[in-house]
Point group: D2
């Protein structure tokens, strides 16, 4: 039995972590905390947890967390985690950080896109980017996991076979992504009001979203060459789910006539419990991955072009589900425990 703590439990990802971990036979939620005025029962904050969990949520007390937990999930706003991670690591705790703080190998890129100074550079190098389909071996022994962003998770999984096998022109990648509103966290702004979202649809941060450099870093690593994608996120009038429609040009001569992209994708992901490659003519939809940890991928070839469509639940495979998948890997539990 692993004892886990959740810091930042009042946000969407924290709420989701509780939901998953309550179903986990080998993990026990030992401590929950958040920025909060005064201690409150979690079932008073989220009445849906009444009769299911009876813990009190207080401000994080690192000594107490360290003494009761083996692993700590940080479901905190970006720039907050890096103030907490050093203490937890020093206390010998495993850490899975759902924020962006340790995702970038170059602190400079993080500092530019998150508009802040990185205050814990020494731990960046050791942090493992927690995308199991790419980094499972490293995750097994990681002390600190930088859990990927939601858009990067779906984009990298959709493109990894093409990029790793060098099948497309690297300057041709366009990611047209559409996300439900929980992707932005539980921030109270006029833009997030029901009447601003319902019956509406729009692009935002057009080719300037902070997830673009994260996608670029990981695709570039897979390719060995520098990749800069075009990335346009849009806001859907629904709670959760991301669907990305991705366009790329085939690299001349790279795909043999006899090669079949569907076979190629299915082989690439054949041992993956959470990636489902569709057959020809079938495409993903958000409803199929809603409240699941799956990433569904559909493929369309069109002469020189390839269109990849991929979908995840941004709060599960895009956040809390992937975090628990990483925990399962670290503690050698079956990887899909509590996730299927």
């Amino acid at each position: 039995m692993v004892n886990v703590g959740i810091i930042g439990v009042t946000g969407y990802a924290g709420e989701e972590l509780i939901d998953i971990l309550l179903k986990h036979p080998s993990a026990r939620i030992a401590n929950i905390s958040a920025k909060i005025d005064k201690p409150r029962r979690i079932s008073d904050i989220f009445p849906k947890f009444k009769n299911r969990i009876d813990l009190v949520c207080s401000e994080p007390d690192l000594a107490k967390i360290a003494s009761t937990c083996d692993l700590v999930f940080l479901a905190l706003p970006h720039t907050v985690s890096m103030g907490i991670v050093p203490g937890l690591l020093k206390a010998g705790k495993k850490v899975i950080d759902l924020s962006a703080d340790y995702r970038f190998k170059e602190a400079k890129i993080y500092e530019k896109f998150y508009n802040t100074r990185h205050t814990d550079k020494p731990h960046i190098a050791g942090a493992v980017y927690g995308l199991p389909e790419i980094y499972r071996a490293k995750i097994r022994n990681a002390l600190l996991i930088a859990n990927p962003g939601c858009y990067p998770t779906v984009s990298i999984l959709a493109l990894a076979p093409l990029v790793a096998l060098d099948l497309i022109d690297l300057d041709s990648i366009i990611i047209d992504a559409k996300s439900g509103v929980t992707g932005a966290g539980r921030k109270v702004t006029e833009n997030s009001l029901f009447s601003e979202i319902n019956d509406d649809f729009k692009a935002y941060k057009v080719n300037s979203h902070q997830h673009a450099p994260e996608i670029n870093q990981e695709l570039s690593k897979l390719s060995g060459k520098k990749i800069e994608v075009t990335f346009v996120p849009h806001l859907l009038p629904l709670d959760r789910g991301i669907l990305a429609t991705i366009y790329a040009r085939k690299k001349k001569g790279a795909i043999r006539k006899t090669q079949n992209l569907f076979t190629l994708y299915k082989n690439f992901y054949k041992k993956e419990p959470f990636v489902r490659v569709k057959n020809e003519g079938d495409f993903p939809r958000i409803k199929d991955v809603f409240k699941t940890n799956f990433c569904d991928i559909g493929i369309k070839e069109e002469k020189d072009a390839i269109i990849i469509i991929a979908a995840i639940d941004n709060l599960l495979k895009g956040a809390a589900g992937q975090a628990v998948q990483n925990m399962n890997i670290i503690f050698k539990f079956p990887e899909d425990t509590a996730l299927i």
Copy 2:
């Protein structure tokens, strides 16, 4: 041509007033204002008005408003209007106030339910409750209109025939009302976030909503006896529209065997351009009154019980549409101008 001003133009009702008045052949929007950091073109605040209206919205300047407008709509939060009305009336302007400030004949009730002191008691007596179906004659000569609340509009129209003709037990009235989210105005609170409303439904202010005393006041006037309704409002996951399901017991012997409630309602409202009484077996739905100034009413008799179902668009018949209807009456324009 009437020159009108709108104070509080950045709220939902203000936005709606612009939309209606732009279609009005005999009214010209001469001045728009709101609590605002610095003057902004209204088409920058609401891009949907681009190419349709080119005015600048500033903080209200009463001297300027008085010199350019014949009539002023106040689309302000409750408790703000009463600070502005005296000045406008003194300057000889007609005023249609969409807030609750002048709706209550007893200031004490207002003060209790809106939790504030009334600072302009002298003008309460002269204010006319702007429900044309009941007070049209008074509205014609009114200087100050207290435009009704959204729940009261639909509830009073649904019950007026029964109460005025003394057909039901007055202590039996139950109003189970359901409203879209714009009813609460454009307030930025966690409760109004998309993810708090979408896929959800709940009651709120259970039998303690500030519209109950407004309904009680008007029904009591119609009846000549004191009425206290049971009133439970609920929040629908949609932008606009109210549907109220109302239950009452028939007064023993009051309805003659030969009497038909449908005929009775149709007669009661036969000259009303905006009340549509349904035939037996047909009931209102929000879609039918969406973006219209109509109030649709359906009736179901069941032995000793009467069920009345009524629907309006809370921003039109429940606010801005009714306000323009009142303006039309005051200025002797055809009552449905710009509203149909």
Copy 3:
């Protein structure tokens, strides 16, 4: 390990049964069937089940079902189950029928409201109405469970304490219920199109819904006197969830001054794993019971009146969840297995 079959697996309740049973450590889905043109893999019908279950759905083959299953869930349209139940019972199988076919002790009422002749009257008497909070003892030994309707489940649980303890006027009960669209099943009609539901809200079958006699039967049994409720269902623009707002008059002198309704409800349900009584001032909302098997109940006293607000997920506590709860009781599994 119990081997279960699901007949009618392509409807909403059938789909939900799969979802629950896949998480059940002591149940195995052995056979799935439905009215279907030709056999299809369930993961082709519902792509969300890809990688989770690999069975083929065919037309029901009773011999095969009988030879592979211990218990059979019937998730069929009303009037279909009664053609199948006799054969399954004869083969010694336990049956949980989610349709209305065996809910009514008087076949005449069923025949009137479902507009058909009952073709299996002999099994009506032995069928147990599967509401565990009322009939748990009988469910333990039942061979045939008539799983309750969604509106009856929430209405009976909300009213049972008041009716069983004789605290209200029995002729005063009004149930104003609001349901998501899956309550009507996966029927393809113009009324169920997205554009007919989205942004809309309406009443339907006003005081003529077939769930009213089911509520009447069960409340009358609890009371020992004949009860006829007023029941008005409404359609919410959301997928799943029911919230009922219920009004009743206190019986004169029945509630002692020292008695507290909250205590009374909490005592009544103190051993129930799936009923959560709210504290004073707190009320249920659909989001809190979404995708759970809970029934949340809130109470408001108002002089002579009592307002009860209750919420369930219509596909779980109102259908598939309650069916599995009944299975757990029959097979002596912990009652909340796979449901929390």
Copy 4:
């Protein structure tokens, strides 16, 4: 006063035509018809029109239509219009056809994508493609208007300046389009059920939609060279509105350093009443064009790439609004009559 007929009045576009024409001071709806079992008052079919229009909808009677109408709108399913148009033209009526039947200059392309034989080829050549921003001069004297498709309208308006001025690589155009569900018409299919659309998002007809050849035809005409776009439509969980995100590569050397795309677009559309070009950093959203006849266009330059985002209401600028705009042009009414 123009007397107009609407054939196919029970579909979304027909319903919308009524709504617009009721506000039109110079047009009178003289005849409405549709495929219908028996004649019905239009206010019984659409209760929202009660008290607004009192016509009866019957099966189309061409003799009667010809004798009472000057212009006829055909709001019919594809392949039906071509059976009606010859008779109307022969009778000397002006026709605005909202279907695809006369949009394609090559009947073969129509026949391939609409999977039917074209039965009125003689009238194809004379039909004018009713996109006023491109064909206004021809529309003025047209006898038969082929009203454009919704996706083509938004796509062509978004791309026309770039294509007409030869600024982009013609093989680089990718149109990622997202539409509300009314775009598919009022067809009753399982795919269009509320529960299939709500909380979901998906691509459909991936690069095989019948609007792609329509876009290709018109862009090729503007360019003088053959253009084949990549076109992926998606389905949004909302009633009405389309937003298209369009990607293209700049043609080497075609855009001078001193040239500004915003200025270029604004000049291109400077006399257009219904095209609104956004300033740098501002982008369209569906809410801004909801229930309007506007097409909003935003631009983002990114090194070698151009991203154009454009939005319309698919039932107005994408169908009925544009049809009335065309009528206004033909009859020399101010072009925005009843549309603003």
